[in-house]
Symmetry: C2
Subunit: 339 residues, 2 copies
């Protein structure tokens, strides 16, 4: 392992000079600089990141904390983050939930963090965030000078979805809720119910927890009620998927027997049979925005700009009555595979 001392020796200069030359700092003559760079090249020198970070107290790295890799939900967010990182001189460290999370966060192995992992508590985030360690949170409404929440505009998409159902003459609606502690769930439910209320509709709520199975179970519960609803809004796509499975088993068809709407626009949604109406946002843009703001804060102390990511309702087969929608595949395969 060659060190900067080796380089300095070979170039016939002091370690200081070598460091300045390699980092393009200090004032070093052109000839000397060249000699140092050549020596470094010849010795295949690469500065030890630990020594450097230890001294600089900066890592030039952004940490992203997610709960897991699968689900293709994070995928696009990560892609967005990655695409921005590529244009900066920062590096990216992705950390799935585990002990590591604590370690990396606490040991300051990154200069800033993007958090999308409910296992990390609000308290932890609050305690960690500081001018020297800004944090962007994607999954909670937590905010101060050093914490930027970047959330979905749940209300917008849900309102559109409600209108879509309502305008088709559907009146008996039900809501399948996700995890109780999730902000997104609360907002989606709150919006849906209040829209319904404005139309003097009462909407029963089935409690789920965002998993496919809980959607399946919610469906069974609803099937037992005296009168089937005409439309069901599920707080996310996974539950909608489970709900549709239960319907299929019962011989019920969407949208004719029951119109279904989900939330998230997971990749599968457009490929299902019937394709699933849902509410989507650009997760790519989400990730990109997060890291852009974070780096802007780190480099220029630009104050955080909270904002809500716009969502939009996507009418597909599962909720669109008597429409001549093209079959899912033919209509959408292109963008589906473009990723």
């Amino acid at each position: 392992m060659t060190t900067i001392r080796d380089v300095a020796k070979r170039a016939g200069v002091s370690v200081t000079t070598a460091s300045y030359a390699l980092n393009d700092t200090g004032s070093i003559g052109e000839a000397t600089r060249k000699r140092v760079l050549e020596a470094a090249e010849e010795l295949n020198f690469h500065p030890n990141a630990f020594a450097r970070n230890l001294k600089r107290r900066k890592t030039q790295t952004i940490g992203v904390f997610i709960s897991r890799f699968s689900g293709s939900f994070y995928e696009e967010i990560l892609e967005g983050i990655h695409s921005v990182i590529l244009e900066t001189d920062y590096e990216l460290l992705v950390c799935p939930e585990s002990r590591s999370t604590r370690r990396i966060l606490l040991h300051r192995q990154v200069d800033g963090a993007i958090v999308f992992d409910r296992k990390i508590t609000n308290d932890q985030v609050l305690k960690l965030a500081s001018r020297r360690f800004p944090i962007v949170v994607l999954d909670r409404d937590l905010q101060n000078d050093f914490i930027l929440p970047l959330l979905l505009d749940n209300a917008q998409g849900v309102r559109e979805a409600f209108r879509h159902l309502y305008n088709q003459g559907l009146r008996r609606m039900a809501f399948v809720a996700g995890a109780l502690d999730a902000l997104d769930n609360a907002e989606r439910m709150e919006t849906f119910l209040s829209e319904a209320k404005r139309q003097h509709l009462h909407v029963p709520v089935c409690q789920g927890n965002f998993t496919e199975v809980s959607g399946y179970e919610a469906a069974h519960l609803l099937f037992q009620s005296a009168q089937l609803p005409q439309a069901v809004f599920c707080a996310n796509d996974q539950m909608a998927f489970g709900f549709l499975r239960a319907m299929k088993e019962r011989g019920l068809r969407a949208p004719d027997d029951l119109a279904i709407v989900g939330f998230d626009d997971i990749p599968l949604a457009r490929h299902m049979q019937p394709s699933l109406s849902t509410i989507g946002a650009s997760r790519f843009e989400w990730g990109a925005t997060a890291v852009r703001q974070l780096i802007d804060f780190l480099d220029n102390e630009t104050p955080f700009q909270p904002l809500r990511l716009s969502t939009r309702f996507l009418a597909r087969q599962s909720s669109t009555l008597n429409a001549e929608l093209p079959p899912a595949l033919g209509a959408t395969h292109d963008s589906a595979l473009s990723s």
Copy 2:
């Protein structure tokens, strides 16, 4: 930022003692140890990872180098890796292709690497790998004491697929090839063609590059030939997907007009209409095996054990003639969403 010195001072011991106590090394009295740990707790002390790594010359971190996040191809591999990491005292650093790759690899910010990114050259891998820096490669056939290739057993699955087609009486077959420089493509093609040869079949080859579009284009090329083949094997699912799109546009149906088989078993494959016959491997197991061997090498110097990951053919609608296959969704949704 509190340091070990603060802890030592508070506990009324030397820095050395504090370090030994915190790391459970050296020989330290029970009472003293307790006092140190308490002091650390009270001061909310967390050792600086850079200083530690600098001194220890070990990072206790495994680096995974992939070319990108999307495609849901890496997803399961990462999950597999992650699941093993969770049970060890190693951490995980996932690095999408970029300058970072070079930096992290060269600067030894990780103790070992798992490489799945063709942008990293064989030369680089060879130069980097050493007893102190073992590397597992998932995308190339490169091997020495410190480099472990973990590849798919392409032949096995492809052979099964060929038989499946052949046993249904199909004789006119074509092959859509992927990127020329890819080992996987070479092996799949080689196997398919030699199986065909044994049956005295001649199989024309259309060159593609693993992308959906290249599959689409390959289809158009084939459509111009005098006689349509009865079965087409695509070297991966993406191309098969493009091929099916072209067929649809032409009013051709799989499997009746043309039986289609892909390779990879991407999540979409089972959800398409028709569902896509393909060849799959447990990518989860793939990742898990890789990291297990790597850590075993690092911790115990266990020599690398090259092996091929078994693959299996999955008969689905796109290639199964006159069969009563259940509809894709009903049959498979459970495992599809279980992730």
